[in-house]
Amino acid sequence: MMNWIAGIGRSTLSQLSDLGRATLILTQAIFGRSNVGVHWRLTIDQIHVVGVLSLSIIIVSGLFIGMVLGLQGYTILTDYGSEQALGQMVALSLTRELGPVVTALLFAGRAGSALTAEIGLMKATEQLASLEMIGVDPLRRVVAPRFWAGVISLPILSLIFVSVGCLGGALVGVSWLGVDSGSFWSNMQASVDFSDDVFNGIIKSLVFAVVVTWIAVYQGYDLVPTSEGIARATTKTVVYASLAVLGLDFFLTAVMFGEI
């Protein structure tokens, strides 16, 4: 019994100190004094790795999710004789929910795990320690560019995902199933509001970007430097990031759209 209570205490303390270390790493990486010119170049390098190379998976999944939405929405909406509302359904579900959330989940799997593994291997092979030895702060040299690259890339990827998804929905709905193209787009335009739907979606994906990259970077920087440690940290990144995205999404939706 006593051991059980002590176990709860120990795990709470270790969770708290994890959170503290993660916050410390993030603040040092963001607010630390840095050489802007060099670090800007490093950030661009990382945007290439994290953002540009994720494009293919984002575009393909966006297209297919849009097409599936079109197909499913059509079969349900025809039951009520209102298949012209298909555009509205596809666009609203993509801009409000699916776009930011699915992009963040894919991003956690595609880029987040890679970030963790990369930083983790740097730590395991003592590259981070050597950087420190020659007087370069690894937080600013290694962690900060990766963090900023993630924060910049994810909202852009999310925008691309939503656009491709809408086009995919239009492809299935208008070209294959024969919904009138005019009513498809005009219903969409009448119901989607730029500031309420599109902009709130961007804010959502910005929040997800910060959380996912933060988790990825922290897990990489803080792991046990063994091959097993890297494997566990990579798994943790994907699991924690996905859970955080889904949980935060409910919270953000409640705040943004709850009062409608």
Binding site: I44, T95, I156, L159, I160, V162, F194, D197, V198
Partner: protein, 153 residues
């Protein structure tokens, strides 16, 4: 050379993002259509606006000429006042224009239809239309129908 290719790809990536934002703004949310091409405000008084929402279409002869921007309760006449922004391109509504609340399809959204009259002078910014036809509330319709059935016997 490698670095230049990399910069190009990142630049293209960011441009693609901007392009998608423009697509979402213009094509998906129709931001340009609700833009400030110049509009004037008309109001209409209805007995009942059940189901009408802000941002609903205002159409004349099936052509969208404006949008509903506000719905409020009018205590003096115990009705609803609907504010509409009508595009400046359609300034030719006569003073005896009538407004009615219509439904797109059987279950579709409600919109306002304007029917222009024969009066030579036109409605101006801030005018109120009193010649209106309210929304059809299905329950009331069924209630009336049932009442007629029982009185016929």
């Amino acid at each position: 050379m490698y670095s230049r290719r990399l910069e190009l790809s990142v630049g293209a990536f960011v441009l693609l993002g901007a392009l998608c934002l423009a697509f979402l703004a213009l094509e998906v949310s129709g931001l340009a259509q609700t833009g400030d091409t110049g509009s004037y405000r008309l109001s209409a008084r209805f007995d009942n606006v059940a189901g009408l929402t802000t941002r609903a279409k205002v159409s004349a002869a099936g052509v969208t000429v404006g949008r509903v921007v506000g719905i409020r309760y009018d205590e003096t006449t115990a009705g609803a006042i609907v504010d509409m922004d009508i595009s400046q391109d359609f300034a030719q509504f006569s003073e005896d224009t009538s407004a009615s609340i219509l439904t797109a399809g059987l279950l579709g959204e409600k919109y306002i239809g304007l029917m222009t009259g024969g009066d030579p002078s036109n409605l101006k910014d801030g005018d109120v239309i009193y010649d209106t036809q309210s929304a059809i509330v299905l329950e009331e319709l069924i209630g009336k129908f049932l009442l007629n059935m029982s009185s016929d016997k």
